[in-house]
């Protein structure tokens, strides 16, 4: 399978003081970016792997549909839910998918506000993934209610009972938060797509393609008067989506935290859920992007540094999640509440200990390998780790939901929860929905934001000649160990780890440096 491990075209993972690393390979131009990204969509024959993956995904999607129909015709009894554990797989899957849906908006909004320009190569991908994950998440509570045909009772519209929804309930907060999140994410994604759809329209060779891309492109003509408002609206949406993304998983955690159940009734839940969501979401982005950049030849745009940056975020958020697990235990003991203490001891050493230790192994221990630079810059090693993280994050929700519900205050109402085959196949089927949507996306829409990636290329900057010595994203990049140490010696960096440049070195910024920041 050598085609799955082509060499990296550039090693931009090391730090050079005073310079920023290039985000594309040096030979890239605006034309090559357009050709590379559009080429995937315009290729009349997608790779064989795409067809195989689509076949598998469609079968799983069919399975998903069949399981839902079976459930709707038979009733919730086909699931393993029992009297204390009323939430079971459906809510575990809801929280799992909604968590995955967080990385997209994090990358597109929060990294945008922090001017993290590497986001331009991965944001389209991540936003698409967000929407598909939220779509999967939405299915589970809808079918879990049992009577899916009266779902409109959730919304403040007049119904046959002449009643309004109870806005004081966290479950309703959750519904409104997720609906808002889906709407805002869709608008954000589509807005970013408009200029790229126009590119596809203008390159279209057939009338059908021209019309199919032309209608959603809305007649975009790259007018700078339009770009002015477009950029402002984009910034506003990023500013609005940032508190939104933090609120959504906080609200999801309120479903648990506002109840009285030991193991749920904790104030750490909102930040802990948000950290976990970012962690799991990035793991899913990496899981999709590592094979995609190999299959579609995108290594010159999604460089090894992009992978490394995502791995660093996973190391951080994974450790935050590990801290939250430890803190939960500490508070359970420190509170002196015997129910709380029991809930946590039961998690780690009770009947669900197997799930707990899978969670700890995948979420806390696995990402620690990313401390090693060598490992976090090896894409296929990282692929294995992020696959484990996805498993671990699913088990986190399983542990939280099932252990607390199955053993609450009264031992007489304790019961062990076992999922049925319908539970398992429905979970499997939801991956079918997710991957079908994702595969259609990579086939028919530009998976890299072309207009955005062009803004971080050297040629986009009119002043490039003035501050070239500062090497903002370009310049010659020494490849390999020997060349790097030669370069370090040439600018006066002798000792290893010494990153402070001597005064007057050629990489010092000139005194009258243009202080304007390039905004993307």
């Amino acid at each position: 399978m050598s085609f799955l491990n082509t060499p990296e075209p550039i090693d931009n993972t090391w730090e050079r003081p005073g310079e920023r690393p290039p985000l594309t390979t040096p030979e890239q131009t605006f034309t090559t970016v357009t050709d590379t990204v559009c080429g995937i969509v315009e290729n009349p024959k997608p790779p064989r792997a795409w067809w195989i993956a689509l076949g598998v995904s469609l079968s799983l999607l069919g399975l998903f549909g069949a399981m839902i129909v079976y459930l709707l015709f038979t009733g919730i009894g086909v699931w393993g839910v029992n009297n204390p554990v009323g939430w079971g797989f459906a809510i575990v899957n809801l929280v799992f998918w909604i968590g995955i849906g967080h990385a997209g908006t994090l990358i597109s909004a929060i990294l945008f506000l922090f001017r993290q320009k590497w986001r331009t190569a991965v944001n389209r991908f991540a936003e698409a993934m967000t929407i598909f994950a939220v779509a999967c998440a939405g299915v589970f509570p809808s079918i879990h209610v049992g009577r899916a045909w009266v779902l409109h009772w959730f919304f403040p519209v007049p119904n046959q009972m002449d009643m309004w929804p109870n806005f004081r309930s966290p479950l309703l907060w959750d519904l409104i938060a997720i609906a808002t999140y889906l709407t805002v994410s869709l608008m954000f994604w589509y807005m970013g797509l408009i200029p790229d759809l126009a590119t596809l329209r203008d390159r279209a060779k057939s009338k059908v393609r021209q019309i199919a891309y032309g209608i959603p492109a809305l007649g975009w003509r790259g007018s700078n008067r339009h770009w002015l408002r477009f950029e402002r609206a984009y910034l506003l949406l990023a500013g609005l989506a940032t508190p939104l993304v933090l609120s959504v998983h906080s609200v999801v955690s309120f479903d648990f935290a506002t109840s009285q159940l030991p193991g749920w009734h904790t104030t750490i839940f909102p930040p802990y859920f948000v950290a976990g969501a970012v962690f799991g979401g990035f793991a899913m982005v990496a899981l999709l992007i590592i094979p995609s950049r190999e299959l579609f030849g995108l290594k010159q745009l999604i460089t090894i540094r992009h992978i490394e940056n995502m791995n660093k975020i996973m190391l951080l958020t994974g450790s935050l999640v590990g801290y939250a697990y430890a803190m939960e235990f500490f508070i359970a003991w420190y509170s002196g509440n015997s129910f709380e203490t029991f809930a946590f001891l039961n998690r780690a050493f009770g009947p669900y200990a197997w799930a707990y230790w899978i969670m700890i192994g995948c979420n806390v221990i696995a990402p620690q390998f990313f401390w090693s630079k060598r490992l976090r810059t090896s894409p296929w090693f990282a692929f294995g780790i992020v696959a484990l993280i996805n498993v671990g994050m699913w088990f986190e929700r399983y542990v939280i939901i099932v252990t607390s519900l199955s053993r609450d205050f009264l031992p007489s109402s304790w019961e062990y929860y076992s999922p049925t085959w319908v539970d398992g196949l429905t979970l499997l089927g939801s991956f079918g929905l997710f991957f079908t949507l994702f595969l259609l996306f990579v086939r028919f829409l530009p998976m890299i934001a072309m207009a955005e990636i062009k803004t971080v290329m050297p040629a986009a900057d009119a002043h490039q000649a003035d501050h070239k010595p500062l090497g903002d994203y370009w310049g010659d990049f020494p490849q390999g160990r020997a060349e790097r140490s030669r370069w370090r010696a040439s600018v006066g960096l002798e000792a290893k780890g010494d990153n402070k440049l001597p005064a007057g070195s050629r990489f010092d910024p000139p005194a009258d440096q243009d202080s304007e920041e390039v905004t993307s």
């Binding site: 131009t29 605006f30 034309t31 357009t34 403040p156 009643m163 309004w164 109870n166 806005f167 004081r168 309930s169 907060w173 409104i176 938060a177 808002t180 709407t183 805002v184 608008m187 807005m191 200029p195 126009a198 590119t199 329209r201 203008d202 032309g214 209608i215 809305l218 007649g219 975009w220 003509r221 790259g222 007018s223 700078n224 008067r225 339009h226 770009w227 002015l228 408002r229 477009f230 950029e231 402002r232 609206a233 506003l236 949406l237 609005l240 989506a241 508190p243 939104l244 609120s247 609200v251 072309m450 207009a451 955005e452 062009k454 803004t455 040629a459 986009a460 900057d461 009119a462 304007e516």
Partner: protein
């Protein structure tokens, strides 16, 4: 077929510096009905064209306030006035229990306004435009930069405007029909 009416001129530029230079020249020559077309937002072009900032943020702020107050009002009216029902002794209306929905409503209305407001202010969708008649213009969404000047501009002169664009570094200047 009706007779073609000339619409204006379209000039093509090869790179960002020459586009910025030319935009400055066109603005200084006093043109008002003109535009630049670029494949991505070019930093510094708004200043070179002398464009005023958009009022979109104010509209979005107003929409946020509307969302905040209307969702608060909705919760109060439905749960405390129109059909007050007692749930485990909780107050019919209290600010803390109603904050999450109010917050989401604020964001929802503000975000929809930012998106729709951008489209409305830009007069999009607008599927027909004279610039699309030029075969060169397909590169405006790829790797080339364009300036279009309308005939309706008071300073427009078929000869003088063309030579202005050529002097500013345009590689090609062509006539467009409406």
């Amino acid at each position: 077929m009706s007779a073609v009416t000339p619409w204006g001129l379209l000039a093509e530029f090869e790179d960002v510096p020459s586009l910025l230079h030319a935009s400055q020249a066109v603005r200084e020559a006093g043109y008002t009905r003109w535009d630049a077309h670029t494949p991505f937002p070019v930093h510094g072009l708004n200043d070179a064209m002398g464009l005023a900032p958009t009022r979109l943020p104010l509209v979005v702020f107003a929409a946020g306030l509307t969302g905040c107050s209307s969702f608060l009002l909705l919760q109060w009216w439905t749960n405390a006035v129109d059909y007050a029902f007692n749930i485990s002794g909780k107050p019919f209306f209290s600010i803390p229990a109603n904050i999450p929905v109010t917050f989401e409503g604020t964001i929802l209305l503000a975000a929809i306004t930012a998106f729709v407001g951008m489209l409305v202010a830009n007069k999009l969708p607008h599927w027909y435009h004279p610039v699309f008649k030029s075969s060169r213009f397909a590169r405006a969404t790829n790797d080339r930069f364009f300036i279009s000047i309308e005939r309706a501009d008071p300073s427009f002169d078929p000869v003088a405007t063309r030579s202005l664009l050529e002097a500013a570094g345009a590689v090609v200047v062509e006539e467009l029909e409406d």
